[in-house]
């Protein structure tokens, strides 16, 4: 079962430039929350703050409180440990180029010291099934390299890799923007199924995707969270004029 995400007064900077202003929101457990907004509004930054990937950029920092279930992300635990509990899928599929499909899925576990081979086989199979890739690759798990798959398959491989470490939350940063419509469709279907077990936050610049996949949607503009509500409401009767302007295409 997934857990909920609570964010309180999150601020983030790149050097001296502030990118996020006092973000406070909640993403409920076992649901998908979409994050939309025009380019440069801070949606990627926001999601990367949830698993402290933001600080891997030199001179970047964040303040505030983020809680994922019982876990206090910014207080008390090292960033590396946080990231082991949260899964992340990036915009451009990034399987490890020198590793086979099997090794890619197992990477999160192996690199963190998990070496029980019998269980690894089981976990790899389960993760690939979860990401709907198993049937396509089950015969060439160790023979083919992760980079030899098609774009859509690579992204599903990355999803399997993220799921293998059994996170409770899955963060997805525009996972379909580099993919063709068919692969996109497959991944959206996947998100639907994954919601039963995980809590998902998905950044997307595609409003139709948000309405297809997420129960809740948050609209970001210039580093601020303007409105967060049920997706239906955001797209039909938004409370804030700025949201309405974005939805109806007056800017963005």
């Amino acid at each position: 079962m997934g857990v909920g995400i609570k964010v309180e007064k999150l601020n983030a900077w790149f050097g001296k430039t502030q990118a996020l202003y006092d973000i406070t929101m909640e993403a409920p457990a076992n649901h998908a929350t979409a994050v939309i907004g025009p380019s440069g509004c801070g949606k990627s930054t926001f999601v990367r703050c949830l698993n402290r990937m933001h600080e891997t950029v030199p001179d970047a920092r964040a303040t505030g409180r983020v809680r994922i279930g019982e876990l206090d992300v910014y207080n008390g635990t090292a960033a590396v440990q946080i990231r082991r509990r949260i899964g992340m899928v990036f915009q451009k599929p990034n399987p490890f180029p020198t590793m086979s499909i099997y090794d890619n899925v197992a990477a999160g576990l192996k690199l963190n010291g998990f070496h029980d081979h019998a269980r690894l086989d089981e976990i790899v199979e389960r993760s690939l099934k979860l990401s709907a890739l198993w049937d396509e690759v089950k015969d060439s798990l160790r023979k083919k390299s992760g980079a030899s798959l098609s774009g859509g398959q690579q992204q599903r491989l990355c999803i399997a890799r993220a799921l293998a470490v059994e996170p409770q939350v899955l963060l997805m940063d525009e996972p379909c923007s580099a993919l063709d419509p068919i692969s996109t469709g497959k991944i959206e279907e996947l998100i639907f199924q994954l919601k039963e077990k995980f809590t998902i936050v998905i950044v997307t610049h595609n409003m139709q995707q948000a309405s297809r996949v997420a129960e809740f949607t948050g609209f970001f503009l210039l580093g601020k969270l303007i409105e967060l509500d049920k997706t239906e409401k955001i797209f039909t009767t938004p409370s804030d004029k700025r949201t309405e302007d974005y939805i109806t295409g007056r800017f963005g």
Binding site: R84, G87, M88, F96, P97, A107, L111, R161
Partner: protein, 295 residues
């Protein structure tokens, strides 16, 4: 009668002057001649090496040590082995430090200190090899009181480090950041990511750099002149003067004995074959794609 003005299109139809066309052809000829003049000595060197050296390479040459002056026969077995020994010592110091420095520059060195180190590495690359020999002499030979393979190894290691550091840095820099981010996203620690993911992705490129540095120092003579010094006999110890292929070629070449001249050619042929093999292997590895699929 109205004056006719020559249309500008007539200008465009004027042929390019003979002078300009002549210059163009001359330039092509001159450039081509330059190529021929440059390739000539290359062909000549290889040609002579094979012509003069091939006859003298036999089992005896490869397995025997030098005979006393004046006697025919003997070989360079100890020199070949000595070179290998010295190179092994040099690599054991030069390769880890060089790769480490390269990792530092690529992963931690995008700052002022990194720039200073980068600049210094390039400076170090330009130091004449004879000067490196002097320094190795001062550090090792004077301290120990005798010439040694270790001193030769130190001299060569000093020459390997900056080359390996810069090529390693270049290769690591080519690894796209998305690969590192994928590892961070999985909660892998930074040191583990650098070694198991980043370095691993750049492996073939790094190996290329190491082999290039290796091929470069394998033929060096000057830094060994007063460090390893040379030896008529076998030596596998770190602390004794040791023969080296390049040293032996030099000693024989400037000697007045025809017999030794003959052997110098043979030794040179062996040396160049080994180096060409190393350089070609590097080319093959490089052309098979350094970062398989990572883009």
């Amino acid at each position: 009668m109205p004056e006719t003005v020559t249309a500008t299109s007539d200008f465009a139809a004027t042929p390019i002057s003979l002078w300009r066309r002549g210059m163009n052809s001359l330039a092509t000829l001159a450039a081509g001649a330059a190529v021929v003049l440059v390739l000539l000595p290359l062909g000549a060197v290889f040609g002579y090496l094979i012509y003069k050296g091939i006859g003298s390479i036999n089992w005896a040459f490869l397995t025997q040590t030098p005979k006393p002056v004046g006697e025919a026969g003997g070989g360079m077995a100890n020199a070949i082995a000595g070179s290998a020994w010295i190179l092994l010592i040099a690599s054991s110091m030069g390769v880890p430090i060089g790769i480490g420095a390269g990792i530092y520059l690529a992963e931690y060195g995008r700052n002022r200190l990194g720039n200073i180190i980068r600049f210094t590495a390039d400076v170090l690359n330009g130091v004449p090899s004879i000067v490196v020999g002097i320094v190795a002499y001062a550090i090792v030979v004077l301290t120990q009181g005798h010439f040694s393979a270790l001193a030769g190894g130190v001299a060569l290691a000093i020459m390997m480090i900056p080359t390996i550091a810069r090529t390693t840095e270049e290769m690591l820099w080519l690894v796209p950041n998305t690969v590192r981010e994928a590892a961070y996203g999985l909660g892998v620690s930074r040191w583990r990511t650098t070694l198991s993911i980043t370095l691993r992705t750049a492996t073939s490129g790094v190996i290329t750099g190491v082999m290039l540095a290796f091929a470069r120092v394998a033929g060096e003579t000057a830094p060994l002149l007063f460090t390893a010094f040379g030896n008529q006999y076998w030596n596998w110890k770190m602390n004794q003067p040791t023969a080296a292929l390049s040293l032996q070629i030099f000693t024989y070449a400037i000697s007045p004995f025809d017999e030794w001249h003959r052997q110098a050619w043979a030794g040179a042929l062996i040396l160049i074959v080994l180096i060409v093999l190393a350089v070609s292997a590097v080319r093959i590895v490089a052309s098979h794609g350094m970062l398989k699929g990572a883009n």
